[in-house]
Every structure is written in structure tokens, then in C-alpha cells.
Amino acid sequence: MNKADDVFGLAAEFESHIDLLRAAEKSYEQGYRKMDAYTPFPIEGLAEALGKRNRVPLMAFIGGIIGGAGAYYMMWYANVVSYPINIGGRPLHSWPAFIPITFELTVLCAGLTAFFGSLGSCGLPKPYHPMFNLTEFERASQDRFFLCIEAHDAIFEPTKTREFLQGLNPVRVTEVPK
């Protein structure tokens, strides 16, 4: 295998999200795994077609549970164990009064985990990435659709992969330098 070390991958540029979606499905069928698509708006089913997995909901769920349980424990510890105040003989462990903050902190922690989980699982913030070397890549945020097969994919082969991408009817296929 003569994978060039200074190549990040090969990018095919498409004019519409329909072409791109079709290309992504074909590439996955062909056996390519290390690839990503770049689109100006979210396209339903694209990430799944590329075999991308998503754990953000699970993370947010766990975050919410930890937040809620932690909040209740904190209030119980503070108002029952550490600093009990007898107000008119009312029970110290007055759980209904602890519900609002339990709810709020559940939401807060789930929200924080969803936010940082989604950014973190994308590897953001990341100021530099080889894809930015691609000429016209700024159109990925405007009106063009890119599919990039990365050089470290198991079956990546500069010429064959280029031929394969050419066969998907792109506007052009370009090498992405590292």
C-alpha cells in the first residue's frame, strides 16, 4: 500500500444533498468506514448511512440522573444532617419542599451534559482540521456538499478510491492535504 503520508483523504464535491446521500450509501456498501460528509444543513439519515453512532442521549440521561440524585442528597444532607432547624415541630425530612430544586438540577445537569457531550463527541472545540485545507471548503457551510474518504481507511487506495468517487457523479474530486 502506498498511502501518501501527507494526504488526509479524497473529497468529492456534490451539488445537492440527494446526490450526496446516494454517494454516502454507496461508499458504505463498498466497505469504506473512515469517512465523513460535510453539508450546509443537517440531512436526515446521512450520519446513519455513514455508520456514525451517537451517544448524546444516553450521556444526557445519565447526567440528568446524577444531577437529580445529587440535588436531593445535597438538600437532605444540608437540612436534615448537617444543619437541622426545628420549625414548629415539622419533619426535618420534608421531601415535597425538596422537589423543585431536584427538578431544576436534573434539567440543568442533563442540559450541560447534552451540550458538552455533543461538542465533546465531535472533538470540538478544534481550531485546526485538515479539511480546512480543501479549497472551496467554506462552501460546505453555504451551498456545497462534500464526501471525504480518509486516507487511514482500511481499503483506501489513492487511485482506486479516486476512480470510485468519480463514478458517483460529483462536481469534482479533490485531494485533501494534511
Binding site: Y38, F41, L46, G111, L124
Partner: protein, 474 residues
């Protein structure tokens, strides 16, 4: 199967373009038909913030807002020098304008969350044109709201005592108190709203970054965009996190103002001690929030010529929401009066008589006029689609919701059980300066937002261009 779907998509878009010049969303033809439609979206919305010169109305508005902000700083400085005595508060009216303004602002915030989160979950794509703007409004309104209880603390620099942390005094907050719930409710609301807003902004910041030509713009938007690459994996996680945050923000619309209302209704004071408060506060919050969105969007739309994006349909829908929530609020007023009579409790009955015919009676009747009577004009579709009329009704509701909080806070406090402890509240110039100054803070942030951040969701609009059937879902 996918092919089939795709063909259906293109077929339906073609037919819709032929059938009508204007999509049901109200978008004009020039955005949805013709070849370079993405380009049009990018140019119209994506380049606004990159322009060198702002229109004259922006400068006029910003200067007025900034002047008011300086008045706020002056009022706060004087408050910090002399203490809360510079306000008109006293015993028995210990909660003066600070709490009235707090509740007013936090209510205004609610429409933003309602528009962006609840309508997102219901797949109401018409929200696209106004959601970013109303989210920003939410954020700035919470910032204004949060300021008031802090200033009202008397020693705002020790505000962190409100948080639970193991301190050297070996004390904890009293978690059974609604005032402590408030800290968590407002704090959570602000944080979740901020995350929701920023997460929605990241792809658009990347668009602006890629369109930027000047160095400072490239750096500024590049840093804010966090290196977003529009990759499929990014979008997948972004979309799910965005939906999750919307789902999390939705119950907050109900919980935050419920908790705020519990600040009042857990107390035993006549006029506060009422079970109707949580639902009636939530309805009032959405009511005032939509009024504020309309008040601000009408001039902004005019100045920035956004008629093609924010349409009469949006205003009609928002006016309908105001009409419904306004009726709930009116029902709340009625039930409050009815229950105080029906309770047979002498203090409750006196509270209601005093509210309507006591020294602050004229405010109560003004409230009835501007918050109950005038909004009934919204029954008319002609008023809902006439922007001048709608603007005036919205202004009336903004005033009305402020008066409502004045009536609740001040007329309840000033005469409670024992006549010997009755008193009067008169606002000082510093009360007014802080109120109008907070409007300045809100507007300054809003003008800066319009100037530096894309106020209409670019990527969502592109999605509507690419899949016009989504725009048809209404």
C-alpha cells in the same frame, strides 16, 4: 425506498413552485424558486453581520439604549453607595419595584423559550424566522430579571451566600424556602437558555466565519464557531443535543414562573396566598413575552427589510397566542376576586376591596383596561394583521403585565392584617432609573446581538430551501 422518497421530494418541490408564488410559510418566491436559492439565503441573512455600515435607525436605537444603560449604571452605583434606602421600599412594602421588575422581566423571557423550544418539538417550521431572535430576547430578559433580586439583597457582593457550599459559618441555605428555589430555577433557566441559543448558533457562526473577508471577523467568528466543520457526525450530535435541550427547556417554561409565583403564594399574605398563582403566572408570562417579541420584531423587521422572512402569518400566530393566554390571565383576575369573596375571610375580602377602591385603585382599573379590555381587539383578524394596531396592543400588554405585578406586589403588601402596620409605597427617581435602565440593558444587548450575530437561523432556512415540503407542514 430512499430513491422513491427522494423523487417524491423533488416532485413536490417542483409542483409547489409552479402552483403558487408564495409558499404557505409566506416566504417570497425569490427565496424558494430560481436556481441559486442557497446563495440568496446566505447573502440575505449571512452577510448582514459582516456589513461595515449599520443603517441609521440601528445607530439611533443603539444610542438611546446605551444612554439608558448608563442611567442604569448610575442608579446601581448610587444604590451601592447608599444602600437600598434610595428606593421607595419600606416596612411594610419591603418588596418594591425590584421584585415587580424581576417578575416582569422573567415573564418576558418565557415567550422566547416557548417559540424556540415548544414549537421546535411540535415541528412548527414557521418558527425558523423568529426563533433565534426570541431566544436572544429570552437570554437578555433573564439577565435583566436576575439583576433585580441581587440588587435587592442589600449587599449584592455576597450573593454567593445563596448557593450551597461548605462555608466557614457552617450554614446551609434553607432549601424549604421558595426564595432559594428561585435561585436554582432562574439559574437553571439562564444556563439552559444560553446553551440552547449558543448550540443553535454554532453552525451559523461557521457560515459567517467562512464568508468573512476581514481578519478580525475571521478570528472573532472563527473562535466562536469552535472549529465547526458541518460534518455529518457534527450535525447528528448537534441535532440530537438541540432537540434534547429543547425538550429540557420546555418544562422550564412551566416551572420557572411557577416557582416565581410560589415566592408569593407560599406566604400567608392576603392577595398572595392563592393556589391559582402558578398556572396564572405561567399564562401571564407567555402573554407578556409574546407582546415583547411583537413590540421588538415589528420595528426590526421594518428597519432590516425582513418582510420576506417574518411574515404577517407570524404576527397572526403570535397574536393568537396572546389572545389565548390573555384570556387565561383575565380568568385568573376573575378567580382571584371570586375566591377572595367566596372564602368568607375578612382579610381576603378587604384585600380585594382595597385593591380596586383603595389608594392604588386607579392602577387596578388601568390594569383592567390595558391588560384585559384592549387586548380583546385581537379577536379581529384585521387587527392581528395590521402591524400598527398590533404594535399598540402589544405595547398596552407590556404595560399591563408590569401593572399586574405592581398590583400583586404593592397593593397586597401595603395593607395586611393589622391596620397599625399599614403604609404606603411611593417610587423614588432611583426606582424609575433602575426600571428604565434595565430596559436600556436589554435593548443594548439586543442591538449588539443584531449587529454581531446572525439573528435568523441560516442553516435552518437553508434546510427549508432544500426541502420545501418542510415549509409546507403548517
Amino acid at each position: 425506498m430512499k430513491e422513491e422518497q427522494i423523487q417524491k421530494t423533488s416532485a413536490s418541490s417542483a409542483s409547489s413552485a409552479v402552483k403558487e408564488n408564495i409558499s404557505p410559510l409566506g416566504y417570497p418566491t425569490n427565496l424558494f424558486t430560481g436556481q441559486p436559492s442557497f446563495q440568496r439565503v446566505n447573502e440575505t441573512i449571512g452577510s448582514v453581520v459582516l456589513r461595515d455600515r449599520q443603517p441609521r435607525p440601528w445607530w439611533i436605537g443603539f444610542i438611546i439604549a446605551f444612554t439608558l444603560l448608563m442611567i442604569l449604571f448610575l442608579a446601581i452605583s448610587w444604590l451601592l453607595i447608599r444602600g437600598v434606602g434610595v428606593w421607595g421600599i419600606n416596612i411594610p412594602v419591603a418588596w418594591g419595584y425590584a421584585i415587580v421588575n424581576f417578575v416582569w422581566w422573567i415573564g418576558i423571557a418565557h415567550a422566547g423559550t416557548f417559540i424556540s423550544a415548544i414549537l421546535l418539538l411540535m415541528f412548527q417550521h414557521w418558527r425558523t424566522a423568529i426563533n433565534r431572535f426570541s431566544e436572544a430576547m429570552t437570554l437578555f430578559a433573564i439577565a435583566c430579571a436576575g439583576m433585580f433580586p441581587l440588587l435587592h439583597l442589600g449587599r449584592p457582593w455576597v450573593f454567593y451566600w445563596l448557593f450551597p457550599y461548605p462555608d466557614t459559618m457552617k450554614m446551609w441555605p434553607q432549601f424549604r424556602s421558595p426564595l432559594v428555589w428561585d435561585v436554582f430555577a432562574v439559574g437553571t433557566y439562564f444556563t439552559v437558555s444560553l446553551l440552547f441559543w449558543y448550540l443553535g448558533l454554532v453552525p451559523d457562526l461557521a457560515t459567517v466565519r467562512d464568508r468573512a473577508r476581514k481578519k478580525w471577523q475571521k478570528i472573532f467568528y472563527g473562535v466562536l464557531a469552535l472549529g465547526w466543520r458541518n460534518s455529518a457526525a457534527h450535525w447528528q450530535r448537534h441535532q440530537i443535543a438541540y432537540l434534547l435541550l429543547a425538550a429540557l427547556a420546555t418544562p422550564l417554561v412551566l416551572s420557572v414562573h411557577s416557582v416565581v409565583s410560589l415566592d408569593f403564594s407560599v406566604a400567608q399574605l392576603p392577595g398572595w396566598h392563592s393556589t391559582i398563582f402558578p398556572p396564572y403566572f405561567v399564562a401571564g408570562a407567555i402573554y407578556s413575552g409574546f407582546a415583547m417579541v411583537i413590540t421588538i420584531v415589528i420595528p426590526v423587521r421594518k428597519i432590516y427589510r425582513l418582510e420576506s422572512l417574518i411574515t404577517l402569518r407570524h404576527f397572526n400566530n403570535m397574536a393568537n397566542v396572546m389572545l389565548v393566554t390573555g384570556l387565561i390571565v383575565a380568568y385568573g383576575y376573575f378567580i382571584e376576586a371570586f375566591m377572595s369573596w367566596y372564602s368568607g375571610d375578612i382579610f381576603e375580602q378587604y384585600m380585594m376591596t382595597n385593591r380596586a377602591f383603595g389608594p392604588y385603585g386607579w392602577i387596578f382599573w388601568l390594569l383592567m383596561l390595558v391588560n384585559v379590555l384592549i387586548p380583546q381587539a385581537l379577536w379581529s383578524a384585521r387587527v392581528r394583521r395590521n402591524l400598527i394596531a398590533l404594535f399598540l396592543v402589544a405595547l398596552s400588554i407590556n404595560l399591563g403585565m408590569w401593572l399586574e405585578r405592581f398590583v400583586i406586589v404593592i397593593t397586597s403588601l401595603h395593607r395586611d392584617f393589622v391596620p397599625s402596620s399599614w403604609g404606603m409605597f411611593f417610587p423614588t427617581i432611583w426606582d424609575w432609573a433602575t426600571l428604565f435602565g434595565s430596559v436600556g440593558l436589554f435593548l443594548t444587548l439586543l442591538f449588539l446581538f443584531i449587529r454581531f450575530l446572525p439573528m435568523i437561523a441560516i442553516s435552518e432556512t437553508r434546510e427549508l430551501v432544500a426541502e420545501p415540503e418542510k415549509a409546507m407542514t403548517l
